[in-house]
Symmetry: D2
Subunit: 388 residues, 4 copies
């Protein structure tokens, strides 16, 4: 019995399975691999998802990853994978600086593509990728997974149906502290060459995507400031490596229509482990969400008796909340990796029924445009218009 037929058992579907080739198998590969294994187990999808092949740079390590993550096989030959008609989706889960090249190759091979964020290293690259995706008429997705936390999806639903009225202000912070200590070694994440920027590209990217997903606001102009508190770190070989990316990056934003916002990404906020937190204020209400308590949504609605008004904590794991009914009874929470499972489930459905899927490469372009403008402003010291 083959794995793909096992996978199909999980769906009861008569359609052919959807085979995934995942390029890269480090941290993000673990999260993606889990999502492919779990999607059919908890969602009734039109097609079975098969973790088909892992593509790595080292055969032995790729094979170990394939075994651990439940893929059928492993290879180092990306070209062969792209030439394989049984591969339906290419997942780009490599470090930032190779996203563009691999995704472009996959698109040229007419594969559907799921790409890790950030989409690319530059806005120009991102646009090129989005354009090719359209031209090739394939479906693409970008792994901004936090959109699919149940509480975030619930917030988006509330804002879309007008519960908050017109949005006026966004205050968004993504606070971590793993670089607060100067003795933490340098890595690709502290190198501009490998990742373009530091906390900014890594964390502000999420905040920008979440803002767009939740509010639909368009960024008009931004003004940023950045700081690197620790300018060299141990290189792991007894010496010191220069740190040329930001430890912390703050920016203000003006949106089309008059809303304003503030953004902060930092890796040196002692005590904040994964504090990805947005508060959005509208004419009639507000919401607040924090990844560290990702199943909860704080909601304020002004259309209540005046003496009973207050921020309420909605545990978004009731059967009425997005994705929640697919998991456990009311009030039993889910975690980080579930957002990836939701991403896969929604992508499979969109692929099947031809409906829109977001975030896609156009969203990636939009995020990149904001991040680039903020980087430029941090150099220039003033507001910079975000290109459309």
């Amino acid at each position: 019995m083959s794995l793909s037929s096992v996978a199909n058992q999980a769906t009861g579907s008569s359609l052919p399975p959807l085979n995934i080739a995942m390029v890269g198998h480090a941290f993000m590969g673990r999260a993606h691999g889990n999502a492919y294994r779990q999607a059919n187990r908890f969602f009734d999808l039109p097609r079975a998802v098969v973790p088909y092949v892992v593509v790595g740079r080292d055969q032995e390590r790729a094979e170990a990853a394939a075994q651990k993550l439940g893929f059928l096989r492993a290879t180092t030959d990306l070209d062969a994978v792209l030439a394989d008609p049984d591969v339906h989706v290419v997942d780009v889960a490599t470090p930032n600086d190779s996203h563009h090249a691999i995704a472009m190759a996959a698109l040229r091979a007419k594969k559907h593509v799921l790409c890790e964020k950030p989409l690319a290293m530059t806005l120009a690259q991102a646009k090129e990728m989005a354009a090719l995706a359209k031209k090739q008429k394939v479906r693409v997705g970008l792994w901004h997974n936090y959109r699919r936390a149940p509480a975030v999806a619930q917030a988006a639903k509330m804002i879309a149906r007008g519960d908050l009225g017109a949005i006026r202000q966004v205050r968004a912070v993504y606070l971590q502290d793993w670089l607060a200590d100067a003795s933490v070694p340098a890595s690709w994440r502290t190198s501009r060459k490998a990742c373009g920027s530091g906390a900014h590209g890594d964390l502000n990217a999420h905040l920008v995507d979440l803002t767009r997903a939740l509010t639909g606001l368009q960024f008009e102009s931004v003004c940023g400031v950045q700081q690197t508190f620790t300018r060299q770190r141990p290189d792991g070989r007894g010496g010191m490596a220069k740190v040329d990316v930001d430890d912390a990056f703050l920016f203000l934003a003006r949106f089309q229509g008059g809303a304003i916002g503030s953004y902060e990404a930092t890796r040196v906020a002692q005590g904040r482990k994964n504090h990805n937190c947005l508060e959005i204020s509208g004419e009639k209400g507000s919401i607040r969400w924090n990844l560290e308590r990702m199943n909860e949504l704080e909601v304020f609605l002004v259309d209540e008796p005046r003496d009973a008004q207050g921020f309420r904590t909605v545990i978004c794991m009731d059967s009425v909340h997005p994705y929640a009914a697919n998991w456990w009874p009311d009030g039993h929470i889910v975690g980080y990796e579930h957002t990836f499972v939701h991403h896969v489930a929604d992508f499979v459905r969109a692929l099947h029924d031809g409906s829109a899927f977001a975030p896609n490469f156009d969203d990636g372009v939009a995020v990149q445009a904001v991040l680039d403008a903020a980087l430029q402003s941090a150099k220039d010291g003033g507001f910079v218009k975000v290109p459309r």
Copy 2:
């Protein structure tokens, strides 16, 4: 390629896989099935765990469950399963009133047994099961999964190493609200015949197990009060069914050595979805844990500068916390089902190296003794000694 060989790929182990027969496939079956699939993916275990066969009462439904949950096959023939030498572990995931019969049969067949809580319907049954497990020299476990939330395991570690000093008080509540509305239909959970008691056996059971796991305290005597606020509910066939179990059950406890505690289980506390919350006060500190924020542990330690003392919120998903390093980076939270994965991982290790595993059937007996004494006291109106 067979699934079991796939499973072994995940471990790289040369030992034969551990085949699981799961009896029952409803809610708890989904959680157990997931645990069997995931254990090898996130933990390096000495043996591969194989979801081998689902045993149900209806072949069609059992097969659908096996497909969905990733088991190799399904059957209605429990006797054949128990006679199958390739079945290593029998998981009893059926409603409460069949735990005893199925587990006893499995033990007689010399299978290792993992049994859902409660262990049995009576203390006598529970003792019989524990005795047979010992006699047969097999390994047994009881699915009190909350012990293995990272934050609970961390709390147990802190208490064991003396951070809190001698424990003086326990205040434990498990608050839900799904029966607050009188129009919610009757079910097996509102029938004494099917489950023995209501919130008491369902929820207080967890609190008693957690108290024992965290503190090591022995219950000496208890005094309870119960109430059924809605005495009949729609029976789903147009009529009304009598409710003969408690909606809420409170009891006080005296522990050996002088500590005291209070316990509450309720299904009618409006607004509380899954509020399984313990606060434990010792001579030198306190901890508080709440399942709804299951990754967090609140900790107070008196050995701090006086002006900086306070309850701290420890997000127990740092690499230094129990189980955390097997999942995601610091501060990325896990959810309800992970506790089951940890249960399986620890059981497999204990099986392999012969080390102790808890909770086992002796723990089940101890929990049952407390619950029974509390039930008796609620009838008699006074403190009742907990039998040893």
Copy 3:
């Protein structure tokens, strides 16, 4: 210009001022004295309140207190004070064991009486006081001040107007930790002779009063357990003094009509400074209040869109909340002593217009009856009926 005329300036009232004689001037005297000084400053009352005379056992200390607290004079001669026709209200702010004697004397002298809690040392004493108060046709109040925290008054209003539906469960704890350390010296608060009981009379008294004030429920029977963890403490003279009161006292309650509740008072819950916290669950909603965040009320109402339900935090310092408009702009919080100011303001109004004032001595009798029954049950080990 005399102080009383100054006081009248604050009211603009043409009625004679209300002169207060306060017996006792320690901790509670400071809180009461402040209330008398502040009431006219923040409330428009029909009569000016004048802190008239402090009665103490030592003239020098009484004079120092009178000066500090703003009373016109001090004396040790209680009889003369009771004979003084210019004294309108006698405030009994002495230790517990003298409440009965002083209040009875004041009542016999036909003075209005404000008595610190507990009303008396025994139920018999309390009844005697309540009876005499009625016979003398004077007005009396009991200083259960927490009723008049704005958030508590707001909760009472919500429950009275039916926001929560019928009340089913009360869970109440008053947790402190000042006796957690065995080296803390003995005092009158650890002596049964001086105060009757420990945490029970001191803290459970508040919980019982708050339950009655918030819900109107009548206690039917109770069952308690108590513990003294530190049985002797330094006596301040180089020796050790026996501790013969409880450190912690828990009890369960059955109310008339079927509601049930749990109560805990403790002075050894490490980390809890003044955690006077009640959660009340009704058919349609719940509230939770905690003295440490005394301006906030947590409210859950089931009559909301299902996907937006959750406990909301109402900051009860909006102009629409009880007492709030007399203080500061919205969201500017008040503290502990304000509850006493509200007590005085309400008492003066009730005195003036003849309306009811609660808590009064009948309430004190009701509280005492519950506490006594709980003490009895802790000895007997079973439920004890609360006398009417």
Copy 4:
């Protein structure tokens, strides 16, 4: 008996009382008046504080205020008050646009001055005031009262003793919502002429002062953005009035030495009543404070066992915390107006012993310099250097 002798009774001091002339008697007058009445009651001060005279524009209203607030008399003749040798301190509690003129006159008359914030309408005015204060050798204070919340003072102490290490980041927001509704009428607070700016001068002023008080950081340059969401409001006479101040004002800051910060003041953040909240991150720890829970300080310290690290909530009302021992037992909280009492108590002591008092007019100049630079930057669209 005169009030001043009554006041002296409270201190037991043989020194002459300190007579206060308060100009203005609206909202801030109520808070200041209370502080003068209460300071001697709760603090043992070297001199008695006497609320001596209220100066208003209307004799009748001033007299009513004097009566209500406990001042000896009222007048409309400021010149006479300034000429009165018995007046020791002039308190400027009028709207913003008259601070400069009144304070300058008082300084010329060699009175000590306590001035409401903001110090002035322009930086030039502020500097003039600070210069004259020095020249006249009188003592001056600025009513940035939040510095003296016990939890803020505790935070300052921790930072000063190095608990957090070098400060790297400040994130400060002051969120209110009283102008979220477009139907709220215009007032002097929505008029640039009367107050210079909107939320910026009103609320960011507090954040800037708190930043300086807590961290000692010097603002180097700032970049701001502002928005007015409701551009006209009912004028209370049936028409509409133009709103020419900001509803919300955000700015980024660079500090000398490399720290960075973000600031937000808004009056339209639905659900936020008085959310004055700062989080400060240093090399070794962080603190967070929120005025709505003003007695609590959240503290993270990295020098703890790794598995027990987390933000702790310190209730800063233990006898070991600043100001706390002057009030109530541990854990009994204080409120908004207590910060003013602390301000008066500290000012009286500083006056008596010649020690420094902050915030003073130099601090006011520093705050004004930051606010002005931010206003300028919001016009120019880039970073603006803060003048020294």
